[in-house]
Amino acid sequence: MTGLGATVARAGRRLLSSLPALFGVLVFTFLLMRVLPGDPAVFFASGPNAGKEEIEQIRKQMGLDKSVPEQLVFYLSDIGRGNLGRSMMTGQPVLKDLRERLPASLELTFTALLIALIAAVPLGVVAALKPGSLVDHGVRLFCALGVCVPTFVSGLLLIYVFYYLLGLAPDPTGRIDVFTSLPPQRTGFLSIDFLIAGDIEGWWAACKQLILPALSMALFVIAPLARITRASMLVSLGSDFVRTARSVGLSWQKVVVTYALRNAILPVITIAGIVFSTMLGANVLVEKVFSWPGVASYALDALLSSDYAPVQGFVLLMAGIFVLVNLVVDICYGIADPRVSIG
């Protein structure tokens, strides 16, 4: 009980101490967007008849007719009231856009990370058990292939083989077949919402749609996870406590899983946390290739058209998620190694 209380208190402290960093991100992104070349008003007034008047009107609508310090004050007070502004691109409030799109990105990233971990940890362990062997080289080759093929290439290849040639995968557009009706929205995660609604057919359809994009993202991150597992397993296997455990005649399985792997898993958790945060933002290409309605492709489109509000909202969201992920990693640390949570 006290352990739990201490964890919560620690988490609270960590969250508080991250506020200044979030504020910094906020101001920095705001200024960065204003420094970038390209006038969004001119871009959005690109209809065949948009003249000076229309440009001015859009500028006013976006609040760009005021000086930068004034804009910043307005922006901060808006954020304080939970208003992230309105996207010119979709015409919707940014908050609504992000709320609709974040579950799509999270679902995809979680699935990809899960696939990557399920593949990478055993691969890393196997490679570490027989370093320098044929298996070790095989794992290395696989990792190199995964990491050197960019996600959009593997994505397009997967589509070509499984959708175009074999017809096994559903058409690679969006989270669900356009003809399937959606379940009532609870979590925003389709695979969970369908289960809640008890619609197994829909659930399977959503999962099928998820497999290819998740796989192409997972391929890319298996390498760092497997390499870290291998390295840290090697250290752990060579340490005194493993030698002792072996010498007292514990079973091979118990030695490897309970003693070596549990000690080796800490750095893997750290890397998984970092990998997760980067994947969430960096899966733009996968989202594009699979027409996945996620936040990353949304932010990229906004950036290309200098649509300030969505980009700022996205960066803030990413910063927030990064803080949360770090927190979760810390808590996982505490569970994997109770010594960490002392103090």
Partner: protein, 539 residues
């Protein structure tokens, strides 16, 4: 195994529709009556008048709203295209133009109803047209080109008759009423959602429709997809019956290769914005219907800033015009899919007719280019930049490489600049780019319209910043020229000035490549360069 059966099936069953029926018997009925249209961009507003609206939004509004009148269609080289000269009533049962051309009278259909069941009245038409010329929306600038500028010009005569008065007999007044913007809105519904700050309900209409069109919005997810369902009461189409498809799904698929795969596998029915290379390979396979129409109301060009040295010298502009590798560019950028605007012969050195865009008598002739450079006092050449925007990279990138290579041969060193779209628009607006490629489209492609909008004044669309008083005067006069022969003569003069001044170099009119399942019929190339869902049906 599945692959083999797919191949066999496709050889046995001729149509993709049938294939889908076989693959999904449970959904067969709805699938045949559903059109799935995939596109790279997205619908971002339900009212096309909102600044920033996309072309997909234009197309959608054509189906959800009616206008007073609509363009007819005609055959051009065996393909259906919109017909600017044949304007038929849509909500108007008939219309009259007074002999002096100053009065247009529209009589509304008695049976026309809005989607909420209330009848369409002249009051609604007046409110909608007033909105178009008064509210701060895109329609304002468009209707201006047809001398429609003030709410006083629209008068309700009786509940089914409305009169439009013009200050001058303007040829473009009537066609303007058939464009995307002057949509007829259910004014009662709209007024309910108007606020003191927003008397024209622009905010509400952005996310809701209140029209009388052929389709009703079923679901709208900006940036992802829009699903519309048929309005069974609608009878304003040319064959006087509701539109063919019960549902239309307009879905955004950003990756062009995926769009190509979808239509090839029969999962999508229709797509217009594929990469030229994909269209070519799909056409070669012969399973799908490919309708390629040169976009006869658009031009892709290389523009020079006529105010920035050395391009302020006409001989430099001519030198560039004779140094461009036209054929290679056409092949590299478009795989030759389009109508070239170069390589003509003008027997007596004069324009063949008064139509713009015209095919210019330019071709790659490096000796001639070098002579012009010498005449400009720059025999050694100079350095400059060639810009294009990222959004057009798939066609502009290979073009840029060829321009650089070819201009280097006459001593012009070119630095290629690939700019993000917003940055490119800004630089164009500020007239900062010396040499760049762009494309233009006119909804109402008449010669004077092109010249007035793209070659006069200090505004953004005058890409070349040309300032030629003679050209400006003729273009202005031609606008109100009632005599066809004199108008043609004006057009010839304008074309002659264009060629001798060479403000920019027209390259080609790219094809609109519509790729569709072989069962789809009725596709028509429309002025807004999107599919009008009311045109198409499944056989």
């Amino acid at each position: 195994m599945r692959f083999v059966s797919f191949r066999m099936a496709s050889s046995v069953l001729a149509t993709t529709a049938l294939l889908l029926v076989a693959a999904a018997p449970a959904q067969a009925q709805t699938r045949v009556e559903t059109l799935r249209y995939v596109t790279g961009a997205s619908v971002n507003t339900l009212d096309p008048n909102i600044p920033g609206s996309t072309r997909e939004s234009f197309a959608l509004s054509m189906s959800t709203y009616d206008r007073l009148v609509a363009f007819g269609r005609k055959q051009l080289n065996g393909k259906w295209v919109f017909d600017l000269d044949k304007i038929a009533g849509e909500l108007a049962e008939s219309y009259d133009v007074s002999p002096d051309g100053l009065k247009l009278t529209f009589r509304l259909r008695k049976d026309a109803k809005f989607q909420d069941g209330s009848p369409v009245t002249a009051e609604d038409v007046k409110w909608s047209l007033d909105r178009c010329v008064t509210a701060p929306i895109l329609g304002k600038a468009q209707l201006l080109t047809g001398s429609l500028t003030s709410a006083d010009q629209f008068k309700v005569i009786d509940p089914l008759t409305i009169e439009v008065t013009l200050p001058k007999p303007d040829k473009l007044a009537l066609p303007n009423l058939a464009t995307v913007y002057p949509l007829i809105i259910n004014s009662k519904v709209a007024k309910e959602h108007a606020t003191p700050e927003d008397p024209w309900a622009t905010a509400w209409l952005k996310e809701h429709t209140a029209g009388s069109g052929a389709y009703v919005i079923e679901s709208f997810k900006p940036g992802e997809q829009v699903i519309i369902k048929r309005n069974e009461d609608w009878n304003r189409g040319s064959p006087d019956k509701p539109a063919f498809f019960k549902r239309v799904i307009v879905q955004s698929v950003p990756e062009p290769a995926t769009r190509a795969n979808l239509v090839e596998r029969g999962d999508a029915d229709l797509v217009v914005d594929l990469q030229a290379s994909d269209v070519q390979s799909l056409e070669a396979k012969g399973k799908l219907k490919v309708i390629s129409t040169p976009q006869y109301n658009s031009i892709t060009f290389v523009s020079m800033n006529n105010q920035i040295p050395p391009f302020d010298n006409v001989n430099v502009r001519r030198a560039v015009a004779f140094a461009l590798p036209y054929e290679d560019m056409f092949k590299a950028a478009l795989f030759g899919r389009g109508a070239p605007l170069f390589g003509a012969t003008w027997p007596d050195g004069k324009p063949l007719n008064g139509i713009y865009p015209f095919q210019a008598p330019v071709k790659t002739d490096l000796d001639k280019a070098r002579e012009y450079l010498k005449a400009a006092g720059l025999p050694e050449g100079f350095s400059t930049t060639f810009s294009f925007n990222v959004g057009q990279a798939s066609t502009a990138e290979p073009m840029a490489a060829l321009v650089k290579e070819s201009l280097a041969k006459i001593g012009i060193k070119v630095d290629i600049q690939k700019l993000p779209d917003a940055q490119m628009s800004t630089q164009i607006n500020e007239k900062k780019l010396p040499l760049f490629t762009e494309g233009i489209v006119a909804w109402l492609p008449s010669t004077d319209y092109f010249y007035r909008n793209f070659y006069t004044g200090n505004q953004r669309w005058n890409y070349s910043s040309i300032n030629n008083p003679e050209l400006a005067t003729i273009a202005q006069e031609a606008r109100f020229e009632p005599d066809k022969a004199k108008y043609e003569e004006d057009g010839r003069k304008l074309n002659a000035i264009h060629f001798s001044e060479m403000p920019q170099i027209p390259l080609w009119q790219p094809n609109q490549d519509a790729v569709m399942a072989s069962s789809i019929e009725g596709y028509t190339y429309e002025f807004h360069r999107q599919v009008d869902y009311r045109d198409v049906s499944r056989k």
